[in-house]
């Protein structure tokens, strides 16, 4: 399953809910303010790093750039994708869930 998280982890607990429910082999895509979870050294970075063992992390590049986050600030292993990559992720996974 693909999980899509669009809110900052410093604003809502949707990322934590998502991490609690995600199964091994799932993918998580951070979009909009959700990309703040991908920044290295933040209060949620440890949770993201730990979850990387069972899920893959992706973040929407245009939303990262729009927030002035430099690519080198991203947690290692978080893949930046464009909108085409977003479409591919949706196509590759039979189901997707937007954590609104």
């Amino acid at each position: 399953m693909l999980h899509i998280v669009n809110k900052s982890p410093f604003q809502t607990s949707t990322l934590q809910s998502c991490l609690d429910h995600a199964l091994a082999g799932d993918a998580i895509l951070l979009i909009e303010d959700g990309v703040y979870a991908a920044i290295r050294g933040s209060a949620v970075a440890a949770a993201v790093t730990e979850a990387k063992g069972k899920v893959t992390f992706h973040a929407l590049g245009p939303d990262i750039a729009a927030r002035g986050i430099a690519p080198e600030k991203l947690i290692d292993g978080v893949t930046s994708v464009d909108y085409g990559g977003f479409v591919d992720l949706v196509a590759e996974h039979q189901t997707n869930q937007a954590w609104l």
Partner: protein, 132 residues
């Protein structure tokens, strides 16, 4: 692959309408098909032709209408959500006695019911939700 998109947030609220629009463009660029875009809750506000954003800002309603025209997209606005928020087509404006010229549904959008949301879920390979 057949995609459908659900938009639950109005334009200029946070980012969902922008995200959904850019996702829709990317779906088409990739050669996939968009079966339907359904606008629900505050998302119906994307479908009023009366929006007049500042000239240096993007006009989301116009962008949706243009995308629909270019790719023959089916943009459906939920009738109950639309009536609550004053988004009416000619038939609904007349039925509710709102007077001549009150219809404000934008070009390319049509008003219908929740059955259209259920149906697109059944008919599409993928359904992606954008909202608040």
């Amino acid at each position: 692959m057949k995609f459908s998109i659900l938009v639950n947030e109005g334009p200029y609220t946070h980012q969902s309408s922008d995200s959904a629009l850019q996702f829709a463009r990317a779906v088409l660029d990739k050669g996939h098909e968009i079966y339907r875009v359904f606008f629900y809750h505050d998302g119906v506000n994307n479908g009023t032709r009366l929006t007049v954003p500042p000239v240096d800002d993007r006009n989301l309603q116009k962008r949706w209408s243009e995308l629909a025209a270019a790719h023959a997209l089916d943009l459906v606005v939920c009738i109950a959500a639309a009536q609550r928020r004053g988004v009416l087509d000619e038939g609904e404006a007349k039925r509710h006695g709102k007077g001549e010229g009150a219809a404000n549904i934008a070009p390319g959008f049509r008003i219908s019911g929740l059955g259209q949301l259920i149906e697109m879920g059944i008919q599409s390979d993928r359904l992606v939700v954008f909202g608040d």
